[in-house]
């Protein structure tokens, strides 16, 4: 072994998921030096194994400014990361299975009116006409024509590759196992291999961000969750929309190759790093899939999987400066919905480093909320209680 390599840079980033990688890319575009340490491969965790829903519809209103910003980035994806990542504005349709669901979709449209989502409510009759393949339980729904889907396996690693091309130094298979602040700046160590010194640190370690925050005196109730995914063999193309269901439960989309990607329910952790789909969740997902899309009855599931996502109790991320340590910024806890907003979260983090503030409102995501709540049991959380925060 030769000695440990030492690097000095402007910003050190822990985690090469879509959030860390897009922050790295945005920082490089500002001409700021960046080192990313990723313990595995960039975009191989949540960011690379998720459902691929790129949707604004259904998000809490507090997330919509961020989601709109992300929407613009997605619109320029090829110029930004050099690949289209199978991104399609195919439409995201949220199904209502009851009049109450329909009413709540209508309410959401009203609430989100200030944002240009272009939601269109579709009645049962029109729905039958437009998509005869939908099962009979759908009584209508809400279409966001500009929302869509992408292939996370391709998109998330491509963000890291783009950052690297733009001059970010990316160290894959480099786990950060020591972080500290020596009064002047941050010091990160990866085993005996690498030591990074930087005046700024971004905590983008996904579900594993908790210990870093805690080290700086900011323990938050971050829990891991493991959404279940399944994919069918390719079947003839019949559906463009990415489907969700009001109230949650199941979501699915059909990719260009013909496979359907479905999600719903919870898996289980094999260990701190890995997760698997759960048998009962697979059974429930299968039943719901057949109900939603009867044509799938005879298709086969060829694969199921899960991932490890960081969840916070109010289903909102922590995005913003540390309350204890100048130069530290958090971006984690996207609670099952960070793929669409990830690229914008990255830009926001870059702005925070450079300007100390972001042009996008992020007050709702402040880490302060957990400490305010601890001081006063009754303290309101910023969660938008009228919307069920469900994955796509």
């Amino acid at each position: 072994m030769t000695g440990r390599k030492t690097l000095r840079t402007d910003v050190a980033i822990v985690g090469g998921g879509i959030v860390g990688a897009s922050a790295a890319l945005a920082l490089r575009k500002m001409g700021i030096g960046v080192v990313v340490l990723e313990r595995d491969l960039c975009g191989s965790r949540s960011s690379g194994v998720n459902y691929g829903g790129v949707r604004r519809q259904g998000r809490p209103v507090s997330q919509l400014p961020l989601a709109q910003r992300a929407h613009r980035i997605w619109g320029n994806l090829r110029e930004t990361i050099g690949t289209d990542g199978e991104y399609l504005r195919s439409g995201h349709f949220k199904i209502a299975r009851s009049e109450a669901d329909m009413a709540s979709l209508e309410q959401y449209r009203t609430k989100s009116r200030d944002f240009d989502l272009g939601l269109e409510l579709i009645s049962a009759a029109r729905l039958r006409e437009r998509c005869p393949w939908l099962g009979t339980r759908a009584v209508g729904g809400s279409l966001c024509a500009e929302d869509g889907q992408a292939n996370p396996r391709l998109v998330s690693p491509a963000f890291a590759l783009a950052a690297q091309r733009a001059g970010a130094q990316i160290f894959e298979r480099h786990k950060v196992d020591e972080v500290m602040h020596d009064g002047k700046g941050f010091l990160l160590r990866s085993g005996n291999a690498l030591e990074v010194h930087a005046p700024a640190l971004l905590n983008c370690a996904g579900a594993w961000s908790g210990p870093i925050a805690e080290y700086f005196g900011e323990a938050v109730p971050l829990r891991s969750s493991h959404p279940v995914m399944a994919v069918t063999e390719p079947v003839p193309h019949f559906m463009d929309w990415s489907l969700g269901v009001e109230g949650g439960g199941i979501y699915c989309r059909q990719v260009a190759r013909g496979n359907l990607v479905l999600g719903g329910g919870r898996g289980f952790a094999l260990d701190a790093d890995r997760a698997r789909a759960d048998r009962d969740a697979i059974a429930t997902l299968a039943a719901q899939a057949v109900e939603l899309l009867p044509t799938l009855r005879h298709a086969h599931f060829i694969r199921t999987w899960s991932g490890t996502e960081g969840n916070l109790p109010d289903h909102q991320p922590v995005l913003g400066p540390s309350r204890t340590t100048p130069g530290l910024f958090h971006g984690f806890g996207f609670s099952g919905a960070g793929f669409q907003i990830g690229p914008a979260a990255g830009e926001v983090l870059a702005e925070l480093v450079r300007d100390g503030r972001s042009s996008t409102p992020i007050e709702s995501f402040s880490i302060e909320r957990f400490f305010a709540a601890a001081a006063n049991e009754e303290a309101p959380t910023t969660a938008d209680k009228t919307t069920t925060p469900t994955p796509p």
Binding site: E233, D278, A286, A289, I302, R303
Partner: protein, 473 residues
Amino acid sequence: MTAASSSALQPVIVGAGPAGVRAAEALVAHGLRPVVIDEASRAGGQIYRRPPASLAERSANVLYGFEARRADAVHTAFDALRERIDYRPDSLVWNAQGGRLDVLHGPTRSTSSVPYGQLIVATGATDRVLPVPGWTLPGVYTLGGAQVALKFQGCAIGQRVVFMGTGPLLYLVAYQYAKAGAKVAAVLDTSRFADQLAATPAMLRQPAVFAKGVYYVAWLRAHGVALHGGVRPLRVLGDVAESRVAGVAWHDGREEHTLACDAVGFGYALRSETQLADLLGCRFEFAPLHRAHLPVRDAAGRSSVRGVYLAGDGAGIMGADAAEWAGERAALALLADSGVAVDTARAAMLEGKLHKLGAFRQGLERAFPVPHDWAAHAPDELVVCRCENITAGTLRRTVAEQGADEMNRLKALSRVGMGRCQGRMCGVAAAEILAHATGQPVQQVGRLRGQAPIKPIPIHLATTAPSTEGAGA
């Protein structure tokens, strides 16, 4: 009652090949009533596969040749156990989680969930495939597939067949075809006869097995079958009009040859079926002899997971005789671990035999090495993954342009192994291409992560949370 009361659940065996059958026999002999789950409709496994009952019974001699006696012995042993085990044929284990196996029953189109306390995994093997241009033409089969057609369906894959690749199965299947009256146009072996000569001392550790191999070769020669060693398969030629095999082309080191045929059987020995062990959480390691990542086990067959035992080809290709010994040995380990007194001398003897076979296996690998330069010669347009139509060129580009250096990443970026077979067929070849393209030894490219289902399951059969069928007393 000793054993039955020592654990609430009867042990479960997955696989009713030679390993599973002998494991079941040993458990029954000690008073247990194991559950035996097998995907096939009749017990026997790959080598001693039995034709469906609906086909007129052909004699064991016709079906299994030299193996007839052993086949008979395994079948007889199983038939004698039939009433004393809980046998579930036509049953695919598609998932394992939390001490239960999820099972799909083909004919009744139903599912069940089988709890286990102890489990013997004897899931066997499938062909190791290193494709050649043209391998997707109708009329091209794996060696195992060609043999199954003969044993199970009672038909040949063609009128004039070329067998190509390497491994003992190459000559065996050619012999079986010729014996059955098919015209064997040639046997094309990628290993050199010099390899086989050099390996002779090691192979003489199993003189009877060695003698059989020598016999097949001699018989084929005597019957005018052309045998070529040291070849490099170039492509399977296609009849465009009929979209079917028309011949093969190969290189012998000096020049190119072609030969007309209407079917090809090809393969490079076998690969272990390890997915269930993976879902069970067994630790894997690279096994140089097998050129594969395999679940680790001790000499008795204990895996790294308490209560899970591994036996037979599923934990490393050792052949049918070894499968029988390993099955029995694993059963004895399971019994001993549950506090049942077993014949330790017998256990030691089985371990000794398995150990000795190791030297023979070294010889076999020396005699029939996987062509290590296969990846170097695979042309860019060669389809590696036929489910997703992914070529060697695509894989190489994924390495060059996106830096993939590991199997799961290669899969994520290129779709290789993302189809119905989920890498069971193309995984070996993709790993060879990846290793070559990145200049790493093949053990370093890793292995595809296991996830359910082990084989595709129809959605409407997955819909009900499987009813739990007690496997207890």
